[in-house]
Symmetry: C2
Subunit: 99 residues, 2 copies
């Protein structure tokens, strides 16, 4: 079953165009993640947070990525990571172009 992940964590930046430059290589790497349908990158300089929403083909792939990405973020010195996982209704999502 497709699974949606929502990550959020404290960030002092970069944001916007600077983030797009700094994280381009990371984004290219993430685009090849097994089972990843898409990732939307989120950020809020006012709240000083960044994160992302991800749609994975299966719950197992979402769990594997959660482990991998949490470890990677910790390696960047990022703590206080909030991860939420949601089961997806694929039939309804197909009608609204989400799947």
């Amino acid at each position: 079953m497709a699974t949606l992940l929502v990550f959020e964590f404290p960030s002092e930046g970069p944001f916007g165009d600077e983030a797009a430059k700094a994280y381009r290589g990371l984004a290219e790497d993430i685009s090849g993640e097994p089972g990843l349908i898409w990732k939307v990158w989120t950020e809020d300089p006012d709240r000083k947070v960044a994160g992302g929403a991800y749609l994975f083909e299966t719950g197992e792939q979402a769990r594997a990525y959660t482990q991998k990405h949490s470890t990677r973020l910790a390696g960047f010195g990022i703590t206080g990571i909030d991860v939420r996982s949601f089961e997806v209704n694929e039939a309804l999502s197909a009608i609204t172009r989400g799947r």
Copy 2:
């Protein structure tokens, strides 16, 4: 700027295939929402919640939908609605097929 919304609210169902039948017309209506790029429908029978993630072209369209959908859910007798809004980094999201 593209904006991601994440809705979640208490639900006793329907879920899964029953939800797909019950909400098909609503999904078709939502698919025509101004500025909506996609909606992913979420559900969790164990936690007794349902919701959705939405990507909108602009923050203004996301805010208009938040108002409209919150009112609609209240009309269904649904309370305790949690809505989160996230700014989207479009350049990075394009690399990961999210935009």
